[in-house]
């Protein structure tokens, strides 16, 4: 609606304002963008949507654009260790299956670490995925120490010459200090076995999340040093605009998006497509 040469008027500006706000980019960003558009409109510098769309597009691309660390580059030597974190139900375990499939399809040897030893049937869930993808999984029993599982998984990845090790963790709220401390410990223990591991710490976000995503990103980053975001459930109607708000606070790129519930529903993050979906 906004992209065909429509004349700007109050009604269209209201439509635009609603579109920006309902993307979850946050009121500060939405209002700042609207202020610039409204000012230019009132000064008669812009007349149609053709004048305003390029400006909005480039502003949003600046805020969310990938840059060259917007994917996962595998290390040339030794396994690339990927730690996956995030709040409860965000989509971590399913996203791990997708990452595993993504690398397995490239002919890489992938191993999974069942680091969620807390939630009911979490290990079973990841085990089913490992079976479907055809990759090995390292696991201990229910309520085992997640740091111990992570350590064993790294040992196994080295011993079995895996290319990629992806470690699952239990969902946790960033407000649970003891669980964030546990995450720090898991990371430290991984680093004991391979000095610069984990090489990637992927924070999984539910695309329907609102402004709380910013606190999530800040606190998970503080505890574990997040290197990339995985925006899951983008196949719904939510735009996932919260990642724009996150980028203003924490400089972490979106690396992948989840577009469904199978292991194939993964795509590298496409900033143009993401911004176009917000503005359409």
């Amino acid at each position: 609606i906004l992209t065909i040469g429509r004349n700007l008027d109050d009604e269209l500006l209201e439509e635009l304002e609603e579109k920006l706000h309902t993307s979850d980019m946050g009121p500060t960003t939405a209002m700042a963008l609207m202020e610039r558009v409204t000012k230019a409109y009132k000064a008669r510098e812009i007349k149609t949507t053709d004048d305003v769309m390029p400006f909005l597009k480039s502003s949003l691309l600046d805020m969310v654009g990938g840059g060259d660390d917007a994917s996962i580059t595998l290390r040339p030597d030794g396994p690339t260790v990927i730690l996956v974190v995030g709040v409860n139900g965000a989509g971590k375990t399913t996203s791990i299956a997708k990452l595993a499939h993504h690398f397995a399809a490239q002919g890489k040897k992938v191993i999974l670490g069942a680091g969620d030893t807390f939630r009911a049937a979490a290990v079973e869930q990841l085990t089913v995925w490992a079976g479907r993808i055809g990759c090995e999984i390292v696991k201990h029993g229910q309520d085992a120490d997640p740091a111990a599982v992570a350590f064993d998984a790294v040992e196994a990845a080295v011993a079995r010459k895996a290319d990629v090790l992806i470690i699952d963790t239990a969902g946790r709220l960033h407000t649970q200090a003891n669980l964030m401390a546990e995450l720090e410990k898991i990371k430290r223990v991984i680093g004991k076995r391979i000095p610069d591991a984990p090489h990637e710490v992927i924070l999984v976000l539910d695309a329907t999340v609102g402004q709380n995503a910013i606190n999530q990103a800040m606190l998970f980053n503080q505890a574990a040093g997040v290197t990339g975001l995985f925006l899951a459930k983008l196949d719904g109607t939510a735009k996932g605009g919260a990642v724009i708000g996150i980028r203003n606070e924490v400089d972490v790129p979106v690396k992948f998006v989840g577009l469904g519930e199978t292991s194939e529903d993964i795509e590298p993050f496409d900033a143009d497509q993401f911004v176009a979906a917000i503005l359409e």
């Binding site: 009121p27 139900g89 869930q125 085990t127 407000t175 609102g210 402004q211 109607t237």
Partner: protein, 291 residues
């Protein structure tokens, strides 16, 4: 927080015991921003601010109170009224088992909340039966069976078959199993997935639930209104369970969902463990949303 923001926006110029149109307009600008930051949906905020502005204009003025504080009180009262009243009642059947259907988006907390509700009903003297209606998600049945074992509450499961038929058989067997509350834990799904939404209607028509609870994540943003509206229009839900309220999400989705569906929020999840379920209190979340 909102009181401090209003004080800095109005306090310096606002005389005690007076609420001018200017105070109200400036105050509402701060309130609007606070509600949007709290994830209340854009249009819900618009109509809320409009309603409260009208109320504030007609408001009785209290002599000893700052205008900022007066606005907070008016807004908080209005939010509480919109969210309320507190209504955790569940419609129990006069005869035969009471059927409770749990629905919602992926990962919202349905399975965990099913376990929590089973425990809650047992504490009220009922005999619950948990039904594993999610045959899609890997180890979903294992997950519910683990919760059932932990609580010593029976779980009905069939590995294979269609969810609607599974639920129908579970309800038919409930009484012979000595159970009088049947909780159907369905698979998470998108409100835009036609086939899966039809499946829910199939479950509903085959089990005639007494309650249909929409389970929503408290940290949901602007999209809460879109999905809640669709689930409600399709199923005519009877209540909402708001999960993960133990986090620091402001929970504006609660206001949006209530406004758009008109259905009561009955329970809140306040933790991962099965005893972490509370009856919903509108006044408490009103304060939290406002910040």
């Amino acid at each position: 927080n909102i009181s401090e923001r209003l004080r800095s926006a109005l306090g310096a110029f606002g005389k005690r015991g007076q609420l001018t149109e200017d105070n109200i307009r400036d105050g509402m600008r701060e309130v609007r921003k606070a509600l949007l930051e709290a994830d209340v949906q854009f249009d819900v905020v618009k109509s809320f601010v409009k309603d409260v502005t009208e109320k504030a204009v007609g408001e009785q003025v209290i002599q000893s109170v700052e205008p900022g504080q007066m606005i907070v009180k008016i807004v908080q009262d209005e939010l509480t009224e919109l969210m309320g009243p507190a209504d955790p009642r569940v419609e129990f059947a006069d005869k035969g088992p009471t059927v409770i259907m749990m629905v919602g988006l992926q990962g919202s907390g349905k399975t965990t909340s099913s376990g929590k509700l089973a425990r809650y009903f047992r504490s009220k003297g009922r005999q619950p039966l948990l039904v594993a209606a999610d045959i899609q998600r890997p180890a979903a049945i294992d997950q519910l069976e683990t919760l059932g074992k932990e609580l010593d509450i029976p779980v009905y499961a069939e590995r294979g078959g269609r969810p609607a038929k599974i639920c129908q058989r579970a309800v038919a067997e409930a009484t012979s199993r000595g159970c009088n509350v049947v909780i159907l834990d369905t698979a998470g799904r998108l409100h835009i997935d036609e086939a899966l939404m039809d499946e829910l209607n199939d479950v509903k028509s085959k089990t005639s639930p007494h309650e249909i609870f929409l389970v929503c994540d408290a940290m949901t943003g602007q999209d809460a209104v879109v999905s809640a509206k669709e689930f409600n229009e399709r199923l005519d839900v009877t209540g909402v369970v708001l999960t993960k309220m133990d986090g620091d999400a402001r929970g504006g989705a609660a206001l949006s969902i209530k406004k758009v569906t008109g259905k009561p929020i009955k329970f809140m999840g306040v933790g991962e463990k099965l005893d972490k379920l509370e009856e919903f209190h509108p006044d408490r979340i009103a304060g939290r949303i406002l910040g």
